[in-house]
Symmetry: D3
Subunit: 324 residues, 6 copies
Amino acid sequence: MAQHGYQTGRLNLPFVGHCTFAKQPICVDLEKIDADVAVLGVPFDMGTQYRAGARFGPRGIREASTLFCFGHAGAYDHEDDVVYMPTDKVRIVDAGDVDMVHTDTTACHRNTEAAVRQILEAGAMPLCLGGDHAIHAPVIAAFSEQKPVHIVHFDAHLDFVDERHGVRYGHGNPLRRASEMAHVEGMTQLGIRNVSSSNREDYEAARRAGSAILSVRDVRRLGTAGTLAKIPAGQRYYVTIDIDGFDPSIAPGTGTPSHGGFLYYEVLEILQGLARQGDVVGIDLVEVAPHYDPTGITCFLAAQILMNFLGFIFQARYERKVPA
Amino acid sequence: MAQHGYQTGRLNLPFVGHCTFAKQPICVDLEKIDADVAVLGVPFDMGTQYRAGARFGPRGIREASTLFCFGHAGAYDHEDDVVYMPTDKVRIVDAGDVDMVHTDTTACHRNTEAAVRQILEAGAMPLCLGGDHAIHAPVIAAFSEQKPVHIVHFDAHLDFVDERHGVRYGHGNPLRRASEMAHVEGMTQLGIRNVSSSNREDYEAARRAGSAILSVRDVRRLGTAGTLAKIPAGQRYYVTIDIDGFDPSIAPGTGTPSHGGFLYYEVLEILQGLARQGDVVGIDLVEVAPHYDPTGITCFLAAQILMNFLGFIFQARYERKVPA
Amino acid sequence: MAQHGYQTGRLNLPFVGHCTFAKQPICVDLEKIDADVAVLGVPFDMGTQYRAGARFGPRGIREASTLFCFGHAGAYDHEDDVVYMPTDKVRIVDAGDVDMVHTDTTACHRNTEAAVRQILEAGAMPLCLGGDHAIHAPVIAAFSEQKPVHIVHFDAHLDFVDERHGVRYGHGNPLRRASEMAHVEGMTQLGIRNVSSSNREDYEAARRAGSAILSVRDVRRLGTAGTLAKIPAGQRYYVTIDIDGFDPSIAPGTGTPSHGGFLYYEVLEILQGLARQGDVVGIDLVEVAPHYDPTGITCFLAAQILMNFLGFIFQARYERKVPA
Amino acid sequence: MAQHGYQTGRLNLPFVGHCTFAKQPICVDLEKIDADVAVLGVPFDMGTQYRAGARFGPRGIREASTLFCFGHAGAYDHEDDVVYMPTDKVRIVDAGDVDMVHTDTTACHRNTEAAVRQILEAGAMPLCLGGDHAIHAPVIAAFSEQKPVHIVHFDAHLDFVDERHGVRYGHGNPLRRASEMAHVEGMTQLGIRNVSSSNREDYEAARRAGSAILSVRDVRRLGTAGTLAKIPAGQRYYVTIDIDGFDPSIAPGTGTPSHGGFLYYEVLEILQGLARQGDVVGIDLVEVAPHYDPTGITCFLAAQILMNFLGFIFQARYERKVPA
Amino acid sequence: MAQHGYQTGRLNLPFVGHCTFAKQPICVDLEKIDADVAVLGVPFDMGTQYRAGARFGPRGIREASTLFCFGHAGAYDHEDDVVYMPTDKVRIVDAGDVDMVHTDTTACHRNTEAAVRQILEAGAMPLCLGGDHAIHAPVIAAFSEQKPVHIVHFDAHLDFVDERHGVRYGHGNPLRRASEMAHVEGMTQLGIRNVSSSNREDYEAARRAGSAILSVRDVRRLGTAGTLAKIPAGQRYYVTIDIDGFDPSIAPGTGTPSHGGFLYYEVLEILQGLARQGDVVGIDLVEVAPHYDPTGITCFLAAQILMNFLGFIFQARYERKVPA
Amino acid sequence: MAQHGYQTGRLNLPFVGHCTFAKQPICVDLEKIDADVAVLGVPFDMGTQYRAGARFGPRGIREASTLFCFGHAGAYDHEDDVVYMPTDKVRIVDAGDVDMVHTDTTACHRNTEAAVRQILEAGAMPLCLGGDHAIHAPVIAAFSEQKPVHIVHFDAHLDFVDERHGVRYGHGNPLRRASEMAHVEGMTQLGIRNVSSSNREDYEAARRAGSAILSVRDVRRLGTAGTLAKIPAGQRYYVTIDIDGFDPSIAPGTGTPSHGGFLYYEVLEILQGLARQGDVVGIDLVEVAPHYDPTGITCFLAAQILMNFLGFIFQARYERKVPA
């Protein structure tokens, strides 16, 4: 039996084994994280105003991510002729999920903020998997001890509601909350579109707060370079991606889809440019609801865009250190 | 055009027209209800500990109910040779849904309790469509000004948790909360089964509080009559039906299914007997999650059991008034 | 309890309450309509030649429409900087569904025509939700007492079959039937494409009847302005939208999908232009089959395009009255 | 290459090859049928009053039947120790589908009747796959030149409506129509249950017409033998099976499910007994709607019950010829 | 922030965190297993003859198992008044999945056998999650160095094919392969039923090999005690459960469903009795195909039956050590 | 009854009748094929590394193809003003499926190669419906006695792996295998994109072997004409289309989707140009997995692209013979 797989290495096909993000090692003791990136699930969906189910987003994205990460020492992209995320250079851990307390939004957000603080203290970049967009408020709050950030926000909706019926921490409020924090220096909001994306008052409040707001059609008119030019260069970027910023054709599995959204390369190329023109220090990707995603393409989109984005970030960091 | 349908009456097939419960008239101004039964949706699912989606329960049950109520002046049952719910004798209104405030369990429960109080003040029997089982606590609380009730509870789970991590009003707690209320005189819990239905402490607490607890196999051993004999006769009954009390074969569309549950006639016949041995004064049916119900059979089950139960209740009331 | 929602207004989230189009008031007594727009469901699908299910189109679109219409006095679009459909200026009612008679196409069409006539007599613009495209024939027939119209038709298929095996009123015939009516002055057919869209004889018959026929690629080559220039300006437009005119990527939930269809902004911008260059006097949107739409995006598309189109129409009417 | 499959026979797994019923040969020229059984699809669903889709019933049942028929010369049942349907003794052909004319119920029924007449003239037993139950009327009409039959009917619903709004040939009417035919001598209706199964007038009309009507609970009380005793022995039986006679737990994929239906062995054993106590001369199985059957179990049920029933019929015929 | 969840323990709801079986610790280094039970996924489905997808069985069952195992120190069953699997007495590890080599059945089986041997050498009981039933052959082969076992087999199909077209290790062959092994002393096959369960030759071969074969109806006639009496007492039992031994109503999510199968308590009670009358030394549960299980009930069934069975096994072992 | 459909021709709607490709005649005896095109299913999916189910690809594509082929003598395309595939000029037969042997990749591939050889010997062009992409290796091997071909390959993945863990004939290897064959003169690979499409070594091996490799963005930059210019003109082309070359928005129903793929017209126009610039002598379309395609659009895409491609091929052949 000398030749069997257990002694000579494993093929480790995508459908084999436990689901961690990109099949990376687990480290649920946040105090012991020793990595470049810590992937943290935040399975909270009490903030949604329509279809729930984003609580299964972390599981859905983890499973989808297995498709993109087997067998190789890094991910080769022939278009860029780069091997992204060489396993000896970029260390990722899957930090499990924040503990959730049903019925209690405050407790969930408190746990979320505490977990992200621990990751930051451990020196890793947090990559948070929602959950609905309400999680962005406690996640960004956890950056209060860090240097200021500029938020780059992809979404169909402005998410800039102040308060309605006492609600301040639902999925319509997080960018408003972020805008109130001292360590948030600026904000670029991309993809905002159509009826129900915002009311006029909130839109004007966002503009007054200094936010740059571009619709999908604005971004198309500007092109990738023109869009990137609207985002101040040389900043520390925090990127929050609501999957409904993408078009329902490729991201149907979400609570509040809105037609006319971004296609894949549009976001990919902005993220690639962003990684080059500043330092990405945190990411959340939210609103993936696997039970509205029978074909899996929304989960694959989330996983694929994150895998690429991590590659871009660390390649850019590497290139800044080692000029060509 | 003298012969067209609008002048000579409508066929009104189930798939035609707005979805109200059993195609009954809408009355969303609760103060103006003048009916025997008021159907109230409570689309709350922040109390669930696993799969969400019961917020769409009211819509799912309303749509399913259209199948069972067209074209006739009441519902004939050839097995009983009775026309149930003659439209000239039983008046039902659909009172719409309780207003929900996302992220805020307390506000949702407060609105729920207030709405049920209004229905009771209007003299109608509330029939509440969940939502998850957490809604039972505010619904039963609204009976505080009424004469005492005995609760008859169908469920896979005991729902008798006192508090965990501060949670007292989730979907695992409502019968515990009810047991603490002065106007709840007793409790019979049917269908409780298997691992995860309760821990030993909560089970013992329920027994100490006077609850009679029967598993599905207990009920089968006792038979319908034997089971009914365990429920004190001549009481005012409040009936709370968690759809997961039924077997997953007929009720897959719910958040926390548990195998080995009740089949259709088992519950139907207990409800029929119950309507005869006392007065049913309120009902809730909870935990229907339509997005886990691709064939619709869970919604049909909820609608079918409720339609029959209403028939039994009013037929029994009628028979008590008009002895054969 | 002074502070509860029932006394201080409702948040009225999309998943709460009965499903009417855009959560607008119900008025099923067509003789009593007093509104600018009357939304009428026509749940007929006996005209389809492949997958049935469009009978649930009205319910699916109504539910989807709840996503786009909560909480605000009108719908703000930051791209146009306009609040569309201010609730004090545009009055919409949901007129319920036409009565259907199973097995009997003639009776269904007769009921449909009669209902639309009543709406027109009440002075409201009919917005008809199919149902399959066969409903267009009786709907447009109901305009016989109105001033002539030009039909603008979005579809993958020409729908210009005269008669096969005696069938004259199926979903392949309605534009042929319309072309035979005196009050139909012209026709522009957009999106017609690929094998199975028409045979040569019907295509030539449509051209002879004066129809302008553009494929999706034709429209892309012409651009929005170029396409609009092909439609005679200053007319009274009746717009019939077969959801399969859109691409299957965003409209999979339909009976006979055809790849290579329109994307969202392509149709949106044509509709916006159309509303400005003439007067839209009637609309139908057909062939939405919710049971082939597990993610809901087809229903959302129908609702979103209709909500925007209504906004454009009444904004254009307003602007014509009140020049800037 | 001498050893490849094409020269040494095929394994012919269920998922391989075209879908015919039980992988039997095709004979769509009805005049050329030379077989014991001719399987005929009747993909008509304009008779349904709720969810359409039974038009895909024939395709769904054909595909499911491939599971039960590969590789063996007949089907061995170890419980009976019989090889049913030895391929050298029972000849089945798949006769394709009746031609359908959308929008035109009369034409569809006329084609159906004509096709069944041709099969009968060819000396084969027709096995008709619906389609909705409306197809039973033309199918049974086609037996007018045959010796009289007794109809055995499995269904949740009585299907004995005379006429409503002019409808006489929908899926609620077929047994009424059958009862009016001279060649229908009697009728046993099994499984009829619960609200919406019939109104009182139709129930009484059926009884007056001589029908024996048993609910599911009646059948359970009587047992198989007791039930069979209610059906006159020694008759020529025509069996019409509405799949909704079965319980929704095993037959969810149908237009109008009703809880409390038959389980598998209940129907199987009645059919086995029936085959022994008389001669089965025709069968239809209707109301399978594959698009409401995501797991396929409804289609498997239809195929499995039909495969067994055919086995019982021909085994009984064989045993009558060759007494043990 | 002293009070947050990370410092005071976690609620750890079912939807939170990585999916391991019953949320037990991971140990993928099989040489380091120190536990009573090692759960091993075998995601192989190249042995199936109809619908594939059992490769996702291990993931589906792991996720479903999270529902049944949160928050308590063991699982209380009020019917038995026992706390099963007290966490301080029964140690379970999740050993991950066997490495699979696509296209190569032999390599997959070799890896499977090697992994089970390692678990046995580590002194743990293997609990294998299929994958299709083909995995049983290498799993049982791995017991060759152990004391002999009696196999208890739940299935719709006999799985006793010797060879067809050269296939000896597909999902129709494993019990035949097992019967050829010296360490397999006997076999009881339960649930075998209906056409396609076996051909006559294989049935007779199984009988000749000493197998006791009972259909579902046989088991019902015998009752639990009578069935258990057919299984030799005091043996070392290896239990192989094909999920299609259960009825399609509760186990639709499998490749080759067969109606008329076991219900939940039927199998549960046999397993409970079996654990008492001998020593269970190994388990596999196979043929769960999550993509045919849209409601999740098949995965829940697998998890629920396994959780209970483990409880019974270790409770019985405990009771044998500590007589009451 | 003189007027019924059977005597006057059939309407033959798409949902009526057995499913053969484009409703063309069946000829499963490959030696008797007398046709221009033979459609052959190859339901093999043991080569996939992630989601299985492509074994149902042939059935899914056949059913979808019925939508595009009824009632007319050829398929009219108004954009080209051509009637494609006039039934009197292009003869297609459906040759059924290759026999599959579960567990045995070698046997399946051997059967596949033998079947394609028979089709070629019969003088027909093989159109193979996968199954996963592993089938391409035996299919292309069968061309060894034909004149050399240039392979045009649409795919997200390079499929150029040599060997891993002994696997040489899985779905990641076929183009490597093809490149080793003497009768394959060249290769153009279109759509290859993103992480997981290839590793660097395989990419470089493909380039060394003379393959031209273009990403989706490369093709967009080049345009249709520019892309066609990269493919040597005047060759005999074999076209292999992995459905995942298309974007997940229109082809979700496949095992390993990758975002950023081709849209419909992009591939259509390349295929149209290819048919004109050389002779297409064989086609396979692979990786359609209907169970991940709940709306059917992936199957429709496969059928629609193939129907058009066949039209282009035979129209080009016709035009070469009969210059305009």
